[in-house]
Symmetry: D2
Subunit: 438 residues, 4 copies
């Protein structure tokens, strides 16, 4: 992602727009072919000093203004008349907005590739752990057993929904911006749409029904999709960070590459991936907030809100890709301690299975009495620090309705997993269906 957001890559995309514009105008006869050649020749990124442009941008208000000045100067070196055609019919905002669209397209391609890795990684883990028993936790308290594979499948499914969002937005939301100062393309007389069509084709971008310079809802939707994806990465990281606690120790992010010797004590585990994803999930919503508030543009061109959009979008793209890269590391290297999971299931001395017992007694004793028996036994077990199974095995009503073997089976966590295996199949099936799509 840093390559996508690199200053040089950005300069390239702005020059790409300016060259394509010249080519399109030459093609419809608005500009001498020679002028467009001169512009294309001069528009080589290596001829420009990104740093100097950046400094001039601060004074000028945006980077396009000094870039255009520099490009004009460069063209004028060989052909003063051609220089007058630079950026003809387009505004600075056209250049910047379309360059941003191209940048977001490249960013989405990077994200979709990483999403593929993360989804595949979790799907592979689902395969290995679809029957590994673990504690399901509510409000961070033990609730019921569940297969760890269901948790992992949930991660893959959520990431896959983000991939769908990005695929759709890549097709629908990333469209050419070309409208000149007020969206009429008046400087091109009545040829504006022709130029726009050719320009869009050259940049391989859809042409929208009209310029959108002062309506930023498409960008806002892309930003939302980035923040939603980061939120999913954060949710996964939160889970893993909780499982990594010394007191729980059920799963761990992989040791960071090159950090093997760093953790001097065995119980101290690398947590850079979860920390990165959680930090990203803490930042993304507020960066999104800036971008959404920036929708309130003034008339045909804002000042202030527009300028806030750029750095917020860059930072949002960065933290999104950072969160996703951390998630890829987790998905591809998660260390899972299924023995510890099973041990932790016993932490409540069988109380995590109370609902299973109550359910088994219901057909025989009715739901009400079944619940009362189990709750009373649970309190007794807690007070006496004994296992619930032992306490229940002394209860006459239980003995009458369940054999010792039946009771023991009720304390087998994976005997109480409802439709979890079917849900895993449904999720995995849907993933496979979507994997091939674009």
């Amino acid at each position: 992602m840093r390559a996508v957001l690199d200053d040089g890559a950005r300069l390239q995309r702005m020059l790409d727009f300016l060259v394509a514009l010249a080519r399109a105008e030459a093609a419809v006869g608005l500009m001498p072919a020679l002028a467009s050649d001169e512009i294309a020749n001069a528009a080589k990124p290596e001829r420009y000093d990104v740093k100097a442009l950046g400094e001039d941008a601060a004074a000028a208000g945006n980077i396009v203004i000094p870039l255009i000045d520099a490009l004009i100067a460069e063209v004028a070196k060989t052909d003063a008349a051609a220089a007058a055609y630079v950026r003809w019919g387009a505004s600075s905002q056209d250049v910047l907005d379309t360059a941003l669209v191209l940048e977001l397209r490249a960013a989405i391609d990077v994200l979709i590739a990483d999403l593929g890795r993360a989804i595949d990684g979790f799907a592979a883990l689902v395969g290995r752990h679809r029957r590994t028993a673990t504690v399901g936790r509510n409000a961070m308290q033990h609730a019921s057993p569940m297969p760890f594979g269901l948790k992992l499948a949930g991660y893959a499914a959520a990431l896959a929904r983000s991939r769908e969002r990005l695929r759709r937005l890549r097709r629908e939301a990333l469209v050419l911006q070309f409208g000149d100062a007020v969206g009429t393309l008046a400087a091109l007389n009545d040829r504006g749409l022709e130029v726009a069509e050719r320009l869009a084709a050259l940049l391989d971008l859809p042409l929208p029904e009209a310029p959108w310079h002062s309506h930023r809802d498409r960008l806002a939707e892309v930003a939302s999709a980035f923040a939603i994806l980061t939120g999913t990465c954060g949710k996964i990281a939160r889970d893993i960070s909780l499982l990594m606690q010394t007191d729980i120790a059920e799963a761990f992010e992989p040791t960071a590459p090159g950090r093997s010797g760093a953790a001097t004590l065995p119980h101290k585990r690398s947590h850079a991936a979860v920390a990165t994803a959680l930090a990203a999930a803490a930042m993304a919503p507020n960066l999104l907030s800036t971008i959404l508030a920036a929708q309130v543009h003034e008339h045909e061109g804002a000042h202030g809100s527009w300028q806030a959009e750029w750095p917020a979008f860059s930072m949002l793209a960065l933290v999104t890709s950072g969160a996703l890269a951390a998630t890829v590391r987790i998905a591809e290297g998660l260390e899972i301690d299924s023995e510890r999971m099973r041990a932790n299931l016993g932490e409540t001395r069988g109380m995590i299975m109370a609902d299973a017992v109550s359910l088994a007694l219901t057909p025989k004793l009715g739901r009400q009495q079944a619940q009362q028996i189990v709750e009373a036994a649970s309190r007794k077990a807690a007070d006496s620090k004994r296992d619930l199974q032992a306490v229940l095995s002394e209860d006459d009503r239980v003995k009458l309705n369940l054999t010792v073997g039946e009771l023991a089976t009720l304390f087998e966590p994976m005997a109480y997993q409802g439709v979890a295996q079917t849900l895993i199949d449904r999720i995995v099936g849907a993933l496979q269906l979507r994997a091939g799509k674009r």
Copy 2:
């Protein structure tokens, strides 16, 4: 929208879930039919004290817990055994999340209806003002003339994109949540999916591939769509508020109903609609931020982030509908002073037409010289406080290439509108195409 978000309506939706659950479980034989009848009978909103439930909710952590207690007590009055079946197999979160989904569906229906009115209102204004000349402004400075209808068409198009988003999310994102404590539906043994299918059908909600209690991305996407819509309303309101300035006075929101006598001085105009929409656009992104940050749920059930989601979603729905209602008022009652628009076009003594003149001279003198002539004349006009047309008419190079009549035509704003009329046609055409769709 206040009706949708009303406490009574919320209670109704939670009871709807609980009754449908009982019906579904009775249908597959998990619950005596009689018990489901008793639950349905007891689940009448009028039997419950919303205020008392709200107070208990504060202590219990959410409203479902006291509601279930109250419902159990109500059922037990006539059938103690049936009472044990209340909410069987579902968690409090299932009740609240599905009730939220139902609420959002109702909210979206209200928004779509209002969007229809706003889009129609602006479309009608486009019809009347598609050739009304107005000042296009960049960074709040005069840039170029444009037809006011293009601006209005842009509003309609942006609102229509939001309508598309909401229609899609209504279909795809608003799905049943039903997973019990950890998403396995274990309390229903192997019948969980059967119950889920019937429950979804009874509530007319799609059944997703798996429960989503700890993956909130669908809700986050709905919230994003709300905030994006509010942003568009804010953008429109910002424009109108700027046009309403005493110094500009080109367009005005309609006088508030019943406020006719309030503004004691004629130049003081009602601005409640734009203020409402702008305030909403200032609040929505931050409410969205809270909802997105709340994606970071812990394990199978969060505490904290989940509780933050509720009030943020309510307030977001409220401000979104407030912003949209204000936009409807603007769309249906905007007062437009086209005479003043034309007068303001003259504010710069013709300099707003400088590009048109430069464009006209380009074929004859080349783009470079054309620009130099016009810029020099503009500076001369500014220094001498004369009209640009007058200054240009004295320039020999101009006289040689343009007749007096040709020059005068170049100062007619709507002669320099590029492809604006075609763009309006494209937008209006797309609107009509989408209007019929669902």
Copy 3:
């Protein structure tokens, strides 16, 4: 806090301003004394329909406009001439802003009272647990032992800093707003400051050097202090929620009043207080963000940003007081399981004391060798699942430098607490010093 933010209380504060204004103007002779009496008589909250005013407010843009209309009508019933003096010389914004200041003063008083309870509660717990050994955790992994009292003292100290902030802001930031439409008080001729002084005295508010209607920095600072306090409550709640985990079980928020029977299983603990505080901490920063962004007022009176400030401030005050009330419940009722704390200290089989051993060996073997011995032994202990103490006791270099008793002492957690007791004294001392202050 709900009483402070109640609609009736708000109405009262607006009427308080209007009456005090009339009294002040009568006192300097700008208004007939009789007119001010009539206004005071009419300004009884019970004469007004808060609901109806609220509905009119939606159309008018703010509540003061319909309230003034209603007050004028009420005064006119007995004295039409007096009615013309209602709100003379003040703007709607003066009424609303000063009413907000009065509201914030009342809110701060509530918060300071609750802060006193929370600080006292934690200070009392410090007294009981200043030597209770617990695990200090970094990145949720075991780091070093520490006295639980130090943790508790940290909570009290952070809350006390928030109390200082609120006390200072109550004195300095909550000042009268009175400037009329543009801050000149022109309608009062040259008597504006005299009226302002009397008005400030009547409302017991400081008079600032000038009106501040379009400079909201003081309010922004109050809002920041609210959000900072909520953040501290969230930090405390996060700690407790982590300690409440079934797998850790070291401390618990008290059972919610009236919820005793609700948790049917003994290991399920009430978590409403921590959830409330965490939800508040998730909402407050974004509400603050809205208030801070609203500083960008247009000229002498904003529209949009000002209207966003009201609901954001109300909600911020509510969540702040909710977070603090939850913290009071925790501070006054925290259940601490010091046995479990000690047990959890042993979770790593002594590795949490590795640094203590290394420190003890340093004077004899040098820091480098000391660290190497302990790290090697730690790895050995981890691999063989033995206690670190046992492994070390077999090491010749250790045996040479430490007796068996000395080594055993090094594994006593509270023998390795550095200056923790002194830090507790410093914190408690500072608390006592500040307790008496205002």
Copy 4:
């Protein structure tokens, strides 16, 4: 500010901490003096590759870990034993947090210097424009006349309040962080406080009552002060941007240095300064939100929230200083067109003076009748597009009570400025009083 936030400066501050720590420990005898010398020798920024450290930081989770590794390696080159003393008794977080405190101190010094320039600039403008009549605007509509100097004095006063905040926080909030892993300083045995005192002295930072690693409220307060200041800059920029509108044209930010030739048309003005300040004001509240939400640290050391704090603080410091630099440019170079201000006062044909007339008639006719006369005349003037003064001069009740000269005087804007001049004196007086303070 870029110099303060430069990677090299940051490296220097971290090394400063590490050297001071070694010196302090050597001074109390915990480390051989020679070892501290070796550490000081090795701790030269030029020996470290900032870029490589940054890359390792991504894997390690923070920059201190690779920096310590590198410093140890550097010390070990000459003295392996000394290397073991690097960072003894301090955590990575101690290094980073204290380095952040030092960075914020440097940042505040830059801000205070710029605040001085901005305040002085506006104060000088107040001197020149304290009697320049301008339109006071409410909701962007003409409200009443006011001296432009009052507006400018308001800017200076608000900036001065921010200066006070920063001065106070520099003294009170920027304190040493030194607590090691869990805040007990156990690795220093019972000498921790002695070391802390010397370390604080060496770094010229106050020593707080206890370490604050997991209580970030002081940092949150500094961040709030930054965002509040940025909000004030945004408010000023909003005003100027509105005044710069082509249709109003009352005041302008100075032309950007080196951009003289860029604006080809005379009515297009440079707006980079206001755009920068407005963009900053749009970003700062959300960056603050991230920092405040990051208060919710887990136990003795967070992961995720802490990592979000760094980039948010950097960006906040940058946008704050950018906003302030833009404000300095405005304060030092604002171009004011007082003729245009006077012309715009006439935009409503005298209606902006309606209140002045009504006030003058009140003593003679009573407030009620006075208002009715003026309102009726205003409506008549609006309908007939005549001047209010002319219409009023035909009204018999007016003629009876006011001479032609008296009526004319009432239409002189600066005759109706209330206590504006006194308010200006109060503000300027307070500024002078505070200017000398620290």
